[in-house]
Subunit: 445 residues, 4 copies
Amino acid sequence: MKYEAEILGDPRFESPLALSERDDDCIANFVDEDDKPLVNPSWSVWKKYRDEGREPHCFELAGPRKMLYFDPAGSRAAIVTCGGLCPGLNDVIRSLVMTLHYRYRVTEIFGIRYGYRGMTLRHGGTAMPLSPEVVENITDRGGSFLGSSRGMYNIVEMVDFLQRRNINMLFPIGGDGTIRGAIEIGAEARRRNMDIAIIGIPKTIDNDIAFIDRSFGFSSAVAKAKEVIDAAHAEARGAPNGIGLVKLMGRYSGYIAARAALASGEANFVLVPELPFELEGEYGFLQHLEKRLNQRKHALIVVAEGAGQHLMRDRSEELGTDPSGNQRLADIGKFLQERIDSYLKDTGMEFTIKYFDPSYLIRATTASADDSIFCFELSENAVHAAFAGRTKIIVGTWHGQFVHIPMELAISRRKSLNPNGPEWLAVVENTGQPLMISPGSAGNV
Amino acid sequence: MKYEAEILGDPRFESPLALSERDDDCIANFVDEDDKPLVNPSWSVWKKYRDEGREPHCFELAGPRKMLYFDPAGSRAAIVTCGGLCPGLNDVIRSLVMTLHYRYRVTEIFGIRYGYRGMTLRHGGTAMPLSPEVVENITDRGGSFLGSSRGMYNIVEMVDFLQRRNINMLFPIGGDGTIRGAIEIGAEARRRNMDIAIIGIPKTIDNDIAFIDRSFGFSSAVAKAKEVIDAAHAEARGAPNGIGLVKLMGRYSGYIAARAALASGEANFVLVPELPFELEGEYGFLQHLEKRLNQRKHALIVVAEGAGQHLMRDRSEELGTDPSGNQRLADIGKFLQERIDSYLKDTGMEFTIKYFDPSYLIRATTASADDSIFCFELSENAVHAAFAGRTKIIVGTWHGQFVHIPMELAISRRKSLNPNGPEWLAVVENTGQPLMISPGSAGNV
Amino acid sequence: MKYEAEILGDPRFESPLALSERDDDCIANFVDEDDKPLVNPSWSVWKKYRDEGREPHCFELAGPRKMLYFDPAGSRAAIVTCGGLCPGLNDVIRSLVMTLHYRYRVTEIFGIRYGYRGMTLRHGGTAMPLSPEVVENITDRGGSFLGSSRGMYNIVEMVDFLQRRNINMLFPIGGDGTIRGAIEIGAEARRRNMDIAIIGIPKTIDNDIAFIDRSFGFSSAVAKAKEVIDAAHAEARGAPNGIGLVKLMGRYSGYIAARAALASGEANFVLVPELPFELEGEYGFLQHLEKRLNQRKHALIVVAEGAGQHLMRDRSEELGTDPSGNQRLADIGKFLQERIDSYLKDTGMEFTIKYFDPSYLIRATTASADDSIFCFELSENAVHAAFAGRTKIIVGTWHGQFVHIPMELAISRRKSLNPNGPEWLAVVENTGQPLMISPGSAGNV
Amino acid sequence: MKYEAEILGDPRFESPLALSERDDDCIANFVDEDDKPLVNPSWSVWKKYRDEGREPHCFELAGPRKMLYFDPAGSRAAIVTCGGLCPGLNDVIRSLVMTLHYRYRVTEIFGIRYGYRGMTLRHGGTAMPLSPEVVENITDRGGSFLGSSRGMYNIVEMVDFLQRRNINMLFPIGGDGTIRGAIEIGAEARRRNMDIAIIGIPKTIDNDIAFIDRSFGFSSAVAKAKEVIDAAHAEARGAPNGIGLVKLMGRYSGYIAARAALASGEANFVLVPELPFELEGEYGFLQHLEKRLNQRKHALIVVAEGAGQHLMRDRSEELGTDPSGNQRLADIGKFLQERIDSYLKDTGMEFTIKYFDPSYLIRATTASADDSIFCFELSENAVHAAFAGRTKIIVGTWHGQFVHIPMELAISRRKSLNPNGPEWLAVVENTGQPLMISPGSAGNV
């Protein structure tokens, strides 16, 4: 797997940006290509590579280059948002337009409506002209100003769309499906010898894309999810043996559940896809819940939608797959509600369960201040990358620095909570929740 | 039906409050008993009563009296919160305690845990001592610091509880069921010749209690509901022919749906229990929705949980009644989602429905600034009323003034949106929604 | 002083609104002209008028009339925002445009830039065409989309501006100065026999306009001011003998200070223009503050900008008047800070004062949900009033009902906190603050 | 300068935490001491060290150790908050208490009132017992539950205080002054052979402590500062040639100004201490401002309090130093307001300046969700460090990992915006602001 960015060709034009290469002039600098961040900045890895005489893996630093591959004067850019909504989409759109327009003086900027779908004739694909005036206030609202949609469309039609309009830089904003699509678009464009940079801005509200520290919108989603957990806590405390049960997004990675629970500081159980758990028996969740209620008279449970699927095999098999080919998930929230209800009724305890499924509410909010900043930084670096002739990369931060990550690498694995690492440890320390599997069964669940 | 407050007996003690009866001393005044607000402040009613030589109905003004029925020194107060959560419960609890403690120097204040249930021995009823220190910060969180529960309990046991503790003022905070309970408690207390004031603070997140302008927490609930509508709007705009469907509280009265839709300014259809609507046919909701989508490519629907029950008779009959004897409602949200889905699929239109059911999220939030103020004013007036020996009343505002409303009167009818009045007119003007019943069928639905 | 609205002439056109006059058809009704709210809905006043055989003062109910004075087809409307910013200005602009466009199908709607100034040629007055598309998202931001400015301009030029553009309805949004200007514009227009309705929407962040229950934006301002008070409370508690001192808007009326203090529930002293206070001596503020610090180790003071001017005569005389002719206020915040500092230093107490002057922050926020609703209702009623041929009125609520208030009446007095009434009583009960004037001196300060 | 943490002695006790050292058991792991993050994770540095045959600088990873230096059973912890308020202080206090109590079962936890001052007898120093019940809800409010104060106090008295109470772990929360104090306390404690771990949690709302990625509360402060900038933007747009001028915290480092401006996306000029600027002349700020107003009719300026001090030498010299010995800053906000006013008056332009100085408002807010999480993580790691016998370190993240940073190292330099780096570049790209110094003068200002 390659860690270096693919480059369309040798630089040919001088950058119009009034930056510098000196440190003593109070002017921000162009990127120094030697300044490459290590992929693994740990001493033990450092030593291993040194001892083996090998060069370590590095990412390419993002940022403005002194020499460009594309001439800003003739450049034509297109922006497309794909997949589900995520806080910050409008910040990314606005920031791309602002940077293209004000920094590189690009006058031809197009917005594609409703995702990749908008690049196909049969769906009436149109390119909406974008300018600073058009996008000025779009960040005041959640959602995507351009609209979005799921799924892939005919690659040939999509590349026709770009070719017909002489687009030389495409900025797809989306998750792993979108990135896969972008790779195919890139391959077809290369077959046609089109000179086009494809620079992705990774979007995943589940924070599950590999090789990036975090995804934009995640922080805003966590803040909104925390509000819901706080409401569930109020409900739990408000009734005798009250139970608050909150289902949050997270198909494969429980980051939102884990982080929102931490932010609230009130959750007693956090259930995520990465950590198996048993329901019944001495070690099972239900007994632990009963114990908690006996001790404290209320309990608060946060569950990621992808958690506990192993407990509902029969349900999920019935559901089949969605249009994008993903296995449909059985509803762990409703399942837990039923199981808790029947278990506690058997104990004779008086109790109340209040179930919260905020779903879209969390992804349709506006971006927090931090996310607005992050979206701007991602977008300016995406534009710099396109002009520098990079392609088939996404931009992101790695150990705090903005870098170029090859699309192939980014989709080669999924990021998830490491049960052995500090992020999950924090959840365990914050909630005090026990291991909910029988001793020795960890490997088998 | 009586409009005057019931009084326990003649005033016997001088108020400890340093207020005045003069207008020129910059000191706030005791209430002037002649200053009675008219129940119906309209010219046509004024004229009718004058012409008929009748005295108009008036409410008694709330506020501090110079002479008290109870001696603050020996008074013992109890506070109980009943029914579902509502923003501002903690503000009311805190304000009652602060006013009792600081204004009347009452040192014996008790909080009853988990509603009327907490006044019965079999449920381990206990009285939690309350003081300014205990309640100081409780308003920072939603819910009820004391806990709440639904349903009525044994009246004899409950009055035993009060009698055993020599409580001479009870402040029940709750809706119509709670008020009914308070009336029964009052009747039993009278049978025993107990000298106790029962002053209710009306709580209804649906804003459906008669003879009060608005209920506390309603404004906060509307603000939170608006956030959800905004998210639904973002989702609706984010997809081709996107439909946002939001179900909000409102069993019999559609105030939250109506007001939150107004606040958002983006809803296209508001469906409430007070206004019948048809689904099918030329005048039906579904055709109007299709038309809207054809014109604008997205639509936003807000529906109160009690709306359209006439369309789901079969479903609701199956559900029966809840422990409090209320008819369980069939789920209009899910029903509409299904019907829209099947109708639009038949038209061949590509569309997406995003369904929002925020439920408890809306009632478990903290109080807005306005509601905090309102809760304080309700509470101080409730305490003044108790010391003045009023009983079996609730406090509320009527045409902007704080008054005493007899409990019997308050539960004699339910407040709901008047289809002919300005509140519903505003919704029609804001959404532009058509009448969705066949001509001439209004009376029959 | 007249309480009835001035009418331009007899109604001539049928309303295009699909409303009804029946109560049984689920269709909202046109206004019934007999349904007039009493100006003073109190029993004692009712009786007085009855006994004296007089008709009581009534306001005209706002709302849509069946017969109109202006033909919607040929109508041309102009909107202007004047004076300081206020939360909700954009809601009013948007709602006026939406109602004019969608309800009455007015196609010629103009926005005047930067207040009355924009109606004068010498300031490059221009009329900006407004439509639903233009104003759709303006409510996401605070401020005025049209811009605003203070002061009056040449009446002849301003009426020329309206005449040249055939404007037949002008909606000025502003405070008492703006209303005075509107009266003059109306008088000049009448001299020219122009057929123009002038319908004001009263704007005053100080909530000091008479004969309206509250002004739009006031609730949002109070909520924001409460946040500042909360911060000041945190600072006060965070230091030994910490003092939080917050200066809020309120030249002549201390409503923001009073209500925001109530909302916070933490203020110990609220100083407003309506209530005189002494600094020095046994009854003075400084001794009370010292006592509070000795008892509780922190104190929180909220002061309206117009409070205590009698203590700073020398300072304010130096300042003179502003361009609109208002006496410039001496800075009570800085003055108190100095005086507290020097007084407490003399006592040898260790203390810290943290001073907050949020000023514009409070008026430049977006509207709360409640204010958004209120702005819509004001605006729809303003449009209905214009079409019904009313003029030189403002719209507002009185005892909870939307009414037409003659401009002359509205500016005939200023609304302020009544030291004897329930609003000030609530502050006294919430803060526990003592009277801070020597006995018997109330009349003299 | 050392990068390794100081250790009190060899580990002696087994950790009570139910963690693991295996990767396959779904149980979070104890820290592996070999897993050390590189201080400088860049390829060029990697290569340099390799070529020179040197070991690179590493930090010690934070986290729980299997073997402890202190016995949890007999441990007594003290917490103290020093200096100015900062969002998240209460989160840190709560998290420390929760981790000490629930994870290590420490029952003796003390809170020191009002900073180091509270450790001296003459200021009535007392130790307030802390437990989960006491701190449960303190995060709902800004400020410090324990109170804080500035300045250093007598070291001997402070160590007496700790010794008398047998404190073996002290958690000072504060900035560089506090850390300096902690180093002195540590030195005195060593002289007395006291066995005490001193673990700092770095607090700096200016984000100016070196060797940590960010400080807690910074993100919350930026979000609040952004709100103020948004209000200033509304004011600027609301008036002809309106100028919004916002002064934000930042004595030596302009991070808050820079990041809040980025978050708003509306600032035109950001002035920070790190970047010199001229006022007058062809390159000066005033001419650029005039140009901006001519083009766009409004302008928005964000200035850090420490910016432009070189322009006000005469003013700042008069001010002298504060009790902690810091040079008092001249007020750049007021200075700019005056200079802009006089410059623009000379041009004959009509304009309005609205000045915002939110000061304490920004630091007294509650923590954002992200900051709450971060505060928890800092606190749990601080407790782990103390039990592992580390001392005179602070905890923080470096390139995204929680590490131990020696106190001496942390105060050896100050973190500030690098004019050549990507953070400042983002500001320049976002605002479009020009260099405001004459060519070639960068080194001299």
